[in-house]
Symmetry: C3
Subunit: 484 residues, 3 copies
């Protein structure tokens, strides 16, 4: 599949106006009509992983590879899977002195373009096409032959004065964007943004995983840092809870609307206070733990965070079900979050029960529960969200944030939970330039599903349009609205 | 979404003749042709939860809320999930003296109509539209603005002389309907019906869950009542089995064709007789049990019931996989069966093995196995039913008794089990007026699936029509035919 | 459904050129165009269960029943499930002296034809139609009425001189076919084939299940036979490993490209060498084992085989997740592999981790992982294959080797793993005459899925055609290419 560089003629690249709509005539007509009402609505991006620094410093980006390739673990993993290149060849820094990391961004870009056929049928391909055409005006298909031309073209756009994070927020039509910030964060960056008048547009999110995971190697350090940031010195389990409570309120006061929890499992069973105290004390002196102890403490702290949420009104996002860093050697060499995280089966009905029994009907509580395990859509998440007023089913996440995944999500969840017990789209991405593409795709899939309901005479057009607008704009805002 | 009452003009409500058919032209044409042959076939409703009293007394219904809203846990749960109303606001009786239960049916009806948008995309919405238009002749869309007009319109129809349970059986074209009756039932009502000539049309179903569940708080009382009803005084485990055997035969002689089993799990492992005896004896004196003991005894009794089924020929329905009353506070306040039952993952291959090894090839045995957990469709249920002559896969149940759920069921089960190892449609509902709507929807989905097979040249039209007729009429009758 | 023999007129049977394509106009047009490019490509059948003897001896087949009915467990199980006939009535040899086995092939054929309606909507029906029309030129639909005519027609074709295994390889356009051969095989047949110039066309596959399963009743015998075949006398665990290594190389030298592993679970955790030694020693003296010991030793040996694969380059096929011989009485009476094997839920993320951590990034290693449990498509297999260079997701297997199953496979796996981390089609069948039908159906489903991507503007037509050709021809060859 490797073409001779410079030899082949350019193959055109463009975006079809009907892309990702169902092909069937009446369904497509209905989808178009619904999409027409929602395509230009502002983007509500309540949860993602774009670094807050980008907005504080508003620094220009350097090159196509570091903007589009290296930070995107979806890209990394697919290229690595093809066997020709390893992570270092794609610019990921390695701890291995014998394994040089490629530092030439043009060379990295070439490797990505050469791998273009491997992305056929994937959402990554879909998003990238959208970005290349819509943001950068690229007009030819990526390949080894076209790589340099496209690289230069993108670089040229990136060199323009307006190509900066804040300006892009406007150009991308992003009304509000949430970042993700560790529990010990001083919030200095978010305060600076607030002073500059950007406090309503870039919001922090409280992510306390590191201070809830007993086998985190820097647990004690992170806990103490949280206490320092919160102004509550941590000397024991009780001051730890007090500091967390205070830090959550600092986040809320800095504009945060949500917390984010990436536990391995969804368990929310509280422990007896003495047990929790003892585990905490051992962790602060660097003791080691069984996996069961680690999971039990995390479950306990999820319950505690739910209790705190009823006080401070922060929306609780739960993202369980991923075995992180599946390949230890890759973790040791290249670090975390570079594509070797693999989902596992996950249970919610029993796991969430302690939390929902305690707070599920509390009007101050809101939890949004995400999954990569589609098996629970009809079986567990839709039935739970379809009765508990506090709970919403999160948008399909990670590997299933994709055309087929989103379609299956609507087909599976809607019949039991309706549209109004779902979260609205959440992009959850580190790839800043993919945000418009991701939201656009989600709108197209929702328009397609609503269009099918219209074409099958299961919903009237006026209702479908209203629902489309709600899913795109009103529901995500309301899902993440402060509760008290 | 709340409109000003009385202000908005009426939005029309009607039923499209092609509703719930696939939109694609050739598929829809084939579906129409198949549906034309099955739409007027009599309804075979072999298993449901309509109270037998309604037919014995043939009493008129009182008002729209108590007919259509309060008894339907699908409606309850969706309205509750929206956070504005709790169960008491919808007429569910509460044990909480501080929490008044709404008793004005018109007010309950308004709350339901106000919540109409929350039902978009759900089967409840689909069924209700069908009922409102087809049974009551309603011509405008429910909303807070139209609530009173619709209420009056329905009440007017309900006041007509013919709007009574027995007459509705005719108007609904229901040839036969099964009720569900506890193991200790005296069958007085069914006997009365038989004396009145209705014995072939309204059939009892033997449901022994309460006398097979050791932690049922009224276990001993229920067991003794079964003995009394059966005329077999129960003094120990052996007379308990004898009474159950006798009571099953009383049910069969009263027209029953099936038993119904709602265990948490599907396990059918028999216990050593001494173990079963000891557990039974402890339960009769009010001892408490571990969850494992409870499940083990239920599994044992499922096996015993299968053995009895080989003698008396009653068809065994197994409905596992639901964690009942997920929210304890709601259970304590409002009781059971009001929307807080949540499915769990469930295993069948190993669980059913003891029963199928013992009786699976026995020509006198028939079991119909239901699931809410779609994961087992291709993996476990279709392979089992596709080889054991005794077993059929039950129609998609509860949360997946829905357009998408039924479509996925046919797509998943047919390829391994065919059409002729499935049960035919089972409505399993408490909502009497929804029965025609539910059967009509099932016929439409089957017609759509068969139509797709025709349009994709995987089945000839004459075969599709015959299969449609079989699924609608012949197969449910034959699935529940007495076996000996 | 039973027609009067000889009375009914013949109902025509034919193959529609668009069969199994999506009905939607633009999708079907795209599918046709893609299919046009792939339909005549040679069949690559890298893994199946056709007996090697057929090719060595090139013996003619005897009759329609023993060619098409009795060896096909898909047919057996469906007919048995209908309750009228048991396995003996269909020609399966029984150990039960009181239960005569039908030996008249015409009578068996009649029973199969009578059961034709039970196959509606199944892949078996689809394959058989293809075989009847395309291989035998049958022109009427099977039924009890037409059974004898069709029987005579097929027998007539079978009597032709060219109707022999080797000639059929040409007529079926099979470029290469893999057989499955036990670990102790002498490879005499494959050597004969090689001497006759057929060595590149009919390849052995090394299947060591029997010598890795401690509770195999003939474990010691099979192990010793493997040593003898390999020329490495086995006296202990270490010579057992050495013999296996040597035998794998003998297979490779005889043309084998792969090994095949049918363990119950996917676990690949290695044991301490002393533990493995002790278990092996006990097995060689006929000791009995707990299920946990059996599974642990198998997991250990999967790991060992992966290590050997890195040396000899044989591709490792893993097929877990089936509970064999679910009904013991049927096993005792009729033996194995006659339709009573039932899938179970299966976990891969943790199970494959030891193997993938050790060898997953090794360029000499290739594993192809199959499943019948669709739940793992998006959750586990696609994420794993979408990052590990060594791993590919196997084609949907057994019960899900079907139109809907293959469609769901592409919809679920492609978005995370792409097309190029899948194995290409693997027929895995014992039914020789079904091979062209199975490959043709797979090509149609792939063309339909690719056609949908084109119709939804998610892929360009030139890319879809190239991908179709790759999936059909290049990818299966490359997936099974020797790695060192």
């Amino acid at each position: 599949m490797v073409a001779t560089p410079n030899a082949s003629p350019a193959i055109p690249l463009s975006l079809h106006p009907d892309r990702a709509f169902p092909a069937e005539k009446h369904t497509r007509a209905a989808a178009r009509e619904i999409y027409r009402h929602i395509k230009d609505l502002p983007i509500i991006s309540m949860h993602g992983h774009v670094p807050v620094e980008w907005f504080v410093d508003d620094t220009p980006f350097t090159d196509p590879a570091s903007l589009l390739v290296t930070p995107d673990h979806y890209l990394m993993r697919m290229i690595v899977s093809q066997g020709k290149y390893h992570l270092g060849d794609l610019g990921v820094k390695s701890n291995d002195p014998d394994r040089p990391t490629e530092i030439n961004p043009r060379e990295i870009w070439r490797r990505f373009c050469e791998s273009w056929p491997a992305f056929r049928g994937t959402p990554t391909r879909y998003w990238l096409e959208h970005e290349l055409v819509d943001i950068f005006g690229v007009t030819e298909r990526p390949s080894l032959a076209s790589a340099d031309r496209i690289y230069d073209h993108i670089q040229n756009v990136m060199n323009k004065k307006w190509f900066r994070p804040r300006e892009l927020l406007d150009r991308f039509n992003i009304e509000v964007i949430g970042t993700t910030d560790p529990a010990w964060d001083s919030l200095t960056n978010h305060k600076k943004l607030a002073e500059q008048g950007w406090g309503d547009r870039v919001l922090p999110t409280f992510r306390p995983d590191v201070v809830m995971t007993l086998d985190n190697p820097t647990f004690a350090k992170d806990v103490l840092a949280m206490g320092e940031a919160a102004g509550v010195p941590i000397t024991d389990y009780h001051s730890y809870l007090a500091a967390m409570r205070a830090q959550r309120i600092r986040f809320r006061d800095a504009g945060s609307r949500a917390t984010d929890h990436g536990a391995t499992f969804a368990d929310t069973t509280p422990l007896p206070v003495e047990t929790a105290e003892a585990l905490f004390d051992r962790a602060m002196v660097g003791d080691s733990f069984t996996p069961e102890e680690v999971d039990a403490f995390t479950a306990h702290m999820l319950f505690q965070n739910a209790a705190m949420a009823c006080e401070d009104g922060l929306v609780m996002q739960i993202h369980p079900g991923v075995l992180r860093s599946h390949h230890k050697n890759t973790l040791d060499t290249f670090g975390k979050d570079i594509g070797f995280d693999i989902p596992i089966a996950i249970e919610y009905t029993n796991a969430l029960r302690p939390m929902l029994e305690a707070f599920g009907n509390n009007p101050n509580f809101r939890c949004i529960v995400f999954t990569i395990d589609e098996d629970v859509f009809t079986r567990e998440l839709a039935p739970l969200a379809g009765v508990y007023p506090s709970m919403r089913v999160g948008a399909p996440w990670w590997f299933i944030d994709s055309p087929e995944g989103m379609r299956r999500f609507r087909e599976a969840v809607t019949e039991t939970a309706g549209f109004y017990n779902t979260s609205g789209f959440v992009d959850d991405t580190r790839a800043f330039c993919s945000i418009p593409a991701r939201h656009d795709l989600a709108r197209r899939i929702d328009a397609g599903y609503l269009g099918r309901l219209v074409a099958e005479h299961r919903l009237e057009m006026d209702e479908a349009i209203e629902t489309g607008i709600d899913l795109t704009y009103r529901i995500p805002l309301e899902s993440y609205a402060p509760r008290s």
